[in-house]
């Protein structure tokens, strides 16, 4: 269970303090939770804050009751938080095998890596020795990014807009990966997404706009309001 208590995040912008997140409090204890809302509303900031990449200006983050607010990225990773980047990072010289092995935190046999890669729809033979660089397509990098999270198998897996930067065809097959993960992974999956198909399989949907928590509820409660209230979520409606 993850609890965010009165999370505020301010940055200095032309000598003015700009509030990116304003007093956000929410508890995440369901199996599959989606965060949605317009671009620039603070979703990614919130995800990075949970992973420890950004420190809140004020507020508290609790993981299973333990205060992790002052823990660094590594400590949080070892407490069981995984984070899939929106833009996968390139590495010169590090291969898919290296990264999956690092993610798993133990030596992995080719068979182990193969089964992880096949979970995200990649054939291990073609990818295992490939470098994580621009020779891989956006869709391939995203899948490898997700495979790393699967290899860790932690209690909290965060995905920041897995649909961003990939074509629709790739995304359609990626959806299946998440549907499978939903059924197979224990622990919580927290996914930032604009995609209706992702929101449709969420147990809980959190809407964040203008740095504020606008709505929390089941998909039956939240989805209809998103589609009706065009003014709160124009971007989302556009994307759907």
């Amino acid at each position: 269970m993850l609890e965010l208590k009165n999370i505020t995040y301010e940055v200095e912008d032309n000598h003015d303090n700009k509030e990116i997140l304003k007093d956000v409090s929410v508890t995440i204890d369901d199996h599959f939770v989606a965060i949605t809302g317009p671009n620039g509303g603070g979703k990614s900031t919130l995800a990075k804050m949970i992973a420890g990449i950004i420190k809140p200006t004020s507020g508290q983050i609790l993981l299973d009751g333990e205060d992790i607010t002052d823990m660094n990225i590594t400590e949080r990773a070892n407490k069981g938080i995984s984070f899939a980047f929106q833009q996968p990072v390139h590495f010169k010289g590090l291969t898919v095998k290296d990264m999956i092995t690092i993610a798993a935190g133990k030596d992995m046999s080719v068979t182990d890596i193969c089964s992880i890669l096949s979970e995200v729809g990649l054939c291990a033979r073609d990818y295992i020795d490939r470098e994580i660089n621009s020779s891989l397509s956006g869709g391939e990098l995203k899948r490898i990014e997700i495979a790393m999270i699967a290899a860790r198998g932690t209690k909290m897996s965060i995905f920041d807009e897995p649909e961003a930067g990939i074509d629709l065809w790739s995304f359609n097959s990626l959806i299946k990966v998440f549907e499978k993960m939903r059924d197979e992974i224990n622990g919580t999956i927290l996914i930032i997404s604009h995609q209706e198909r992702i929101l449709n399989i969420a147990d809980k949907i959190i809407v964040i706009a203008d740095g504020q928590l606008k709505q929390v509820g089941t998909r039956e409660e939240v989805l209809p309001t998103l589609l009706d209230k065009a003014e709160t979520c124009q971007t989302l409606v556009d994307k759907m």
């Binding site: 980047f85 690092i102 860790r152």
Partner: protein
């Protein structure tokens, strides 16, 4: 061989014992061991220090090891090794120099390697440099590799210098006749106050020649590196050079590529990138549970792999 020499041999040649096949092990300025085969002859030079390695035409799947070990502090030497690779031969040559300097004097090995590749010959040349020591003596290596490639021949060079060499100037010269190609992969890591310079020049003289030079380096501490490459495209050729460097602490890297196209059919490309480790790479690895230091090590190991 004593323990120090055995360790050096392992570092520069990956060998635990005396190798199979042809070899010449030079230790502290003299011949320690030599073996020739039916196809590979090794002959000491009479006019200067060094050896001639003569490989018969058509020799395939054979290898030559010529490691040099310096464990006596203050030893300084200049060695000339010439390689004659017969037509159609396909061989692997492993050279390398390891210095163990536990004294206060400067140890220095300058190796001048000249390769003559006959038509359609293929060579894979691996060179490793390694230095160690607990004294204050400096370890200096100045390798020169001169490559003459005849029609259709191919040379692959892998050079590695990871540790312990205080100063190095690596000179590589090449000339290529029609259809010849050369591929060079260089890896350097410097730390402390070390200095390393790569001085590379190649003439692509024949049609359908190609050259690919990839240099990856890491400069830590107060160390300095210079990368200079000259590629002259004198015919219908393809040349590519790439210098990628990571700088850390107060390390400094200068890259000076130079491309000259003397033929309208020459196609030459240079890429250079110098910078610190990207913050997002560190963050990504930290989200996988590594500490910042472990993340840094992984990134550098991968980069120099």
């Amino acid at each position: 061989m004593d323990l120090v020499q055995k360790n050096l041999l392992e570092q520069v040649a990956g060998l635990h014992e005396i190798p199979e096949g042809a070899y010449n092990i030079r230790a502290n300025g003299g011949k320690l061991a030599r073996n020739t085969t039916a196809n590979i002859d090794i002959v000491s030079k009479t006019d200067k220090d060094g050896i001639d390695i003569i490989i018969k035409p058509g020799t395939v799947n054979e290898s030559v090891h010529i490691p040099v070990l310096l464990s006596q502090s203050g030893l300084q030497e200049c060695v000339y090794n010439d390689f004659f690779i017969g037509e159609g031969a396909d061989v692997t040559i492993v050279a390398g120099c390891g210095i163990h300097n536990c004294g206060v004097d400067t140890s220095k090995h300058d190796g001048i390697h000249t390769f003559y590749l006959e038509k359609n010959a293929k060579v894979r040349y691996i060179e490793r440099h390694y230095g160690e020591g607990d004294g204050n003596g400096e370890n200096i290596m100045n390798p020169q590799t001169i490559v003459h490639l005849k029609e259709g021949s191919h040379m692959e060079m892998e050079t590695t210098q990871i540790k312990g060499i205080d100063s190095t100037v690596r000179v590589t010269r090449g000339d290529l006749a029609e259809g010849a190609s050369i591929e060079i992969h260089e890896k350097i890591m410097t730390h402390g106050k070390q200095y390393a310079k790569t001085d590379f020049a190649v003439d692509l003289n024949g049609d359908n020649t190609s050259c690919n030079l990839v240099s990856r380096s890491v400069a830590k501490g107060e160390s300095k590196q210079e990368f200079s490459s000259i590629m002259n495209g004198n015919a219908a050729c393809a040349g590519h050079s790439e210098c990628d460097a990571i700088i850390m602490d107060h390390g400094c890297v200068t890259a000076s590529p130079q491309l000259t196209a003397n033929s309208i059919e020459a196609n030459l490309i240079h890429e250079a990138a110098i910078g610190k480790i990207a913050g997002e790479q560190l963050i990504k690895l930290m989200t996988l549970g590594l500490t910042e230091k472990e993340a840094e090590e992984q990134i550098i190991n991968g980069f120099l792999k």
